[in-house]
Structures are given as structure tokens and as C-alpha cells.
Amino acid sequence: MKQPVFNGILLFLVALTCGRTLAQDLAGSFQPLNDRLPPGYNAEILRRVRERDPNWLQPVRVDLPTTGNVAVHNGESAATATGPAPAQFAASPGYLYRLHISDLPEFPGVSFYPSVELLDRLHPPTGLEHQFPVPIVLTEADLQAAAEGLLVTRIIYLENPRLAASADPLKGDLPLSGEQQRNAVAVASELGRPMAIIRLGSRQPAVEGTTAGFFGNGGQVGPSNPSGEATGFARMSPVGQIRRVAAER
């Protein structure tokens, strides 16, 4: 009679001490990158450490709450590429870029200049590179917070397939907002592979002359146009909610 009880207690203790979750395992890893480092620093380190194809341009897609215009700067005050949202372009990983968001119906007469620090690249099937861009989703809440003088930092990560099987960020299974005290890049690393750091504020280019490095640090920018039906990425709905395109088809 007592042997099953003993076995049960023993099993409970073993499970208590050894039954570590995946998140616990990942939480213990050390992350030298930090979202609070000066903009461009993380991407620069990764560019030097990782031997990537220098000719690879990572497609990036910018989604706004409804409509608007998106311009991309890669170091110069003159935009390299311009287009209506959702806008898609391709850029070299490991560099800092500056976007110019304008003509937003929600913010008439207001322009935003978020920066995109492209950390890493995706590895899509050959020939389908432009169907899998890195999605940059700027919500109306983000833009409103920036207009009020706050700094909004978003880390875009490629979800860990071990977590993707059971957790869906769009359903709230994964945290969509981190604690201020924590390193946001480390949080993203626990959930997947950080791809980009987006920083959004209210600063405008200087009238008397641009600040050094304001428009980026010289990464290559090229065109990127999805051919065929785009699937698999998040998109804004008219009411400002993020929805998965593929899930509704």
C-alpha cells in the first residue's frame, strides 16, 4: 500500500527538480546583444561575426494602420525607395536604416522617422524570397505613443519552431510586450531568432543640417516585390488589430 505512495512522491520530486520547461532552459542563456545599446551597434556586431552572403538583400515589408507613404533612407537625406503602404523593399542585414512615414490619415500633417536595425536574415525557399519578408507592423497605438514623446521599441523575431507548434503570438500565447527592466533582445531570443529592432519616436530631421548617422549607416537597399499571393505574414486590419493573412484564406 505504501510502495505506490512512495513511488508517487519520488516521481513528483524528480518531476519538480528535473522537469524544466523550454522557456526556463532558454532563459538561462546569456545574450550579449541589448536593445539599449546605441542604434546600429547590435547589427554591426552581428554583421562582423556572421559570415553572410554580402549580396543577400533581406525583403522587408512595412505595414501601417491603414494607408500612408513609406520612404527608405540608407544613410542619405534623399530617400532610396518610396512607396505606398504596405511597402516592401530589400536591405542588407547588419545595417541601420531610417524610414519616413507620412500621409497617415490618423495623424494628418505628422511624419514619423522610425529606424530599422536589421540584425539577421531569413532563409526562404529558393525563388520565394520575396514572399517571406520581415514584417514591420506599426500600430496606431505605437504611433500615438511616439507622437506623445515616448520611445517605442519593437523586436521582430522569427519564432522558434519548438514553440510555434504550441503557441501563437496572435492569440496571446506568447508575450507581446516585455518588461522595461529586461533586455528586449534577450526576451526575443528566448522566443526565437531576433531579426530586427524597430525604434519609433517623434524626432524629425534637423532643419539646419542632419545629424550624423540619422538616416542610417550605408546598407544596400534594393527593390522587392512579392509575385503571386503573399501568405504567412501578419497584417493590420482596418480596426488596428493584427491578423494573420494566411489564417483567413
Partner: protein, 385 residues
């Protein structure tokens, strides 16, 4: 039965280890799997007077050329964008190359100021009774970007508000020191970073707003405002090339479309390069000649450029953030003086919580590959390949 439970208890202790016992003393108890990284400023500099990113494992490829705040500041390019708020319609001017440029911006307006310098502002057209024809001449101290504030300053405009209370204090012969700072993460209530303002008139007597702000975060702006009247010469006699002397106006007015950028009236001493520059641990691109200590522009390695008794320059201490190795620091004074004996053993206890906790360096890498072996006819070629 007694030994039965004794064995069960021993098993529980073995399984759980001492995890339940740690953390009872102090607040620095960390699990063995938890690590605490140094602050961003230290991540950029692995050791005292040694430059480069991270824990020094990046070797010769390290040292990002950095679009960093420090690099940009060294190039003279970093500026802080300030938005003037509060008194609607008030005009803001500044001193530009010795000239007083009035009416350059109007509240709410924004202007860019180079970092690490002090500027002389002039506030005119202040709304409210009693301020007709009165100008105020505050100074604006623009601090250089810190690794903690670089991202904020590159993306946000810093608000500088002049309130009714501020004007009331100024009219009462009080001086106001207004400090705008970015709180440290532990002092921020929400996940999105925003600035805070400390005003000397709202603090207890004797409390320095600058020291208080430095305890809570990183200072970006300091505005000092009083009611002192500054007398700028309206007209100055300037010699002309033909030998004559002509009166030249020393006032620029934005209403006359005369605009000039603000220029510093002084530099902040801490940002004038008084501290020697950091030494790069491993400079140069692959294939390029390595810098040799003492040859050419490379400084002499190991020269005591550090002012702290334990911050000796030299190779970065690994792992990064580990304690210094010095066990004792003794200074003996043998001078025959009729004075009290100097302190012969100096003990300084410092502690911050939580302390750095770095993972153990990699000691062993085992790499193995397994190749499938197929017999003839076993390999199936995927369709389409």
C-alpha cells in the same frame, strides 16, 4: 519505517540541492542559470581603457566602427532635438556666433542643439500679465548622448516646458534649475521609455536636482532660468575693408527672416576630451598590419593612464565583468613628521546588486558527424530533383 523516511528526505535534498536555501541572505541570490549582463556602457568597453565590443571573444574582427553615439559625437555630429512647450506663442532665440538671434522659434517649436555644450537662450513675447516687453535669458546645458540615452535621443525630441509656476518663481527672484532626464529602466513604470523632469522649486531644500536626476537616470538637458537682464549690444562699430568704421547690428531677428543656428557659449568640461581615449584591444582589418605599441600613433601599451588604483590598463579581464584580482593595496608613509599616522590599510567596500553573473567560458567542444551509408539501389531521388 524511520529509515524509510530518512532515505526519502535524503533523496529530496539530493534532488533539490541547495536551491531552496540560497537567496535567504541579501538580494543578490541568482539561480545558477541566471546571468546578469553589465550595463550597455560597459558592454561597449570590455575593460578599463580598452575598447571593443563584448567579452573580447570577437578578436580582431571586433571594434564596430559604430554608428554609435560616441563615434558620432566624436565626429561632431550628434545633436539633441528640443521642443519648446508651455507658453503658447512665446518666442525662443539664442546666441549664434556672438550675435543675439531673437525670434528663431515659437512655442510649440523645435530646434537642434549640438551635444556636450551650453547655450544662451532668449525668451521673448512671454504671454501673461507683467511680462510685456520682458525677456528672459536662460542657459541650456545639452548633455552628450550616453549609451543609455543614445537610442532615445536619436529617435525622440526632448520636451522643454516653461510653466506658469516657473514664471512665478522667476518673477519672485528665484532661480530655477530644470533637469530633463531619461529614467533608468528600474525607475520606469512602463515598458515604453519616456522622459521625466525635475524642477528645483519642487524639491526639498538642499536637494540638488542634478544629483537627484543622476541617481534616477541619465540627464539630457539642464535649463537654468533667472531674471537677470543680459545686455547685448544692439549696434557695434565694425572696421570696413576701406578703412572706415560702420555701425553693424548685432541682433538677428527671425521676423526679418534672419535665422542662425545656435552656437555654444561654453563646452561641458566632461565632454572636452580630458580623459584619454580608449585603447583598442585588437585593431585593424584582417590582413592589415597590426598596431605596435609605441610605434606610430599607437600609444605605449600599459602606460598608467587610469586614475584608479585598481583600474590598470592592460588586457581585458575575462570573463567580462569579473572582479579585479588585486587583494590588497597598501601605502606606507615613512616621513618623519609630527603628524598623526596616516591610514595604513584602506578598505573600501563596494557592492551593487545583483552582481554580474557570466556563464562559464566554453571549455570543451565535441563535434561529430554521421553520414548515411546506402547500399546500391537504396537511395531514392526526390521528385523534381
Amino acid at each position: 519505517m524511520r529509515y524509510y523516511f530518512l532515505a526519502l528526505g535524503a533523496l529530496a535534498v539530493v534532488c533539490m540541492g541547495c536551491s531552496g536555501l540560497s537567496g535567504t541572505s541579501g538580494t543578490t541570490a541568482l539561480k545558477s542559470t541566471q546571468h546578469v549582463a553589465p550595463p550597455p556602457a560597459m558592454l561597449q568597453h570590455p575593460g578599463p581603457m580598452v575598447d571593443g565590443p563584448g567579452p573580447g571573444v570577437l578578436g580582431i574582427l571586433a571594434q564596430p566602427a559604430a554608428h554609435s553615439a560616441a563615434a558620432a559625437h566624436a565626429a561632431g555630429g550628434m545633436s539633441t532635438q528640443v521642443t519648446f512647450q508651455g507658453q503658447a506663442g512665446m518666442s525662443v532665440g539664442w546666441v549664434s556666433n556672438g550675435l543675439l538671434a531673437r525670434n528663431q522659434k515659437f512655442v510649440p517649436g523645435r530646434a537642434d542643439f549640438g551635444q556636450g555644450a551650453i547655450y544662451q537662450l532668449v525668451l521673448s513675447d512671454i504671454p501673461g500679465e507683467g511680462w510685456e516687453g520682458v525677456s528672459l535669458y536662460p542657459t541650456l546645458e545639452v548633455r552628450a548622448a550616453d549609451p543609455n540615452t543614445a537610442a532615445y535621443l536619436e529617435h525622440n525630441v526632448v520636451p522643454l516646458e516653461l510653466t506658469e509656476d516657473d514664471l512665478l518663481h522667476v518673477s519672485s527672484n528665484n532661480m530655477i534649475t530644470k533637469v530633463i532626464y531619461l529614467p533608468d529602466p528600474e525607475h520606469q513604470a512602463r515598458a515604453i521609455a519616456g522622459v521625466e523632469t525635475l524642477v528645483s522649486t519642487t524639491l526639498d531644500p538642499g536637494v540638488d536636482p542634478i544629483q537627484q536626476a543622476e541617481r534616477l537616470g541619465t540627464i539630457m538637458l539642464v535649463l537654468r532660468l533667472g531674471n537677470k537682464e543680459m545686455h547685448f549690444d544692439d549696434v557695434q562699430m565694425v572696421p570696413q575693408p576701406d578703412g572706415s568704421v560702420q555701425p553693424v547690428s548685432m541682433i538677428l531677428d527671425g521676423f526679418n527672416n534672419e535665422h542662425a543656428p545656435p552656437t555654444p557659449i561654453g563646452l561641458i568640461p566632461g565632454h572636452m576630451g580630458g580623459v584619454p581615449g580608449a585603447m583598442v584591444a585588437a585593431a585593424g582589418a584582417p590582413g592589415a598590419p597590426l598596431p605596435i605599441s609605441g610605434v606610430g600613433p599607437t600609444p605605449v601599451w600599459g602606460s598608467p593612464t587610469s586614475g584608479t588604483p585598481i583600474g590598470l590598463p592592460g588586457p581585458p579581464h575575462l570573463p567580462l565583468g569579473g572582479p579585479a584580482g588585486l587583494q590588497s593595496h597598501t601605502i606606507r608613509n615613512l616621513t618623519q613628521n609630527r603628524m598623526p599616522e596616516p591610514v595604513d590599510h584602506l578598505l573600501i567596500d563596494v557592492e551593487h546588486s545583483p552582481g554580474y553573473s557570466m556563464p562559464e567560458p566554453v571549455r570543451h567542444i565535441q563535434y561529430s558527424e554521421k553520414h548515411p551509408v546506402y547500399a546500391p539501389g537504396d537511395v531514392s531521388v526526390p521528385a523534381g530533383r
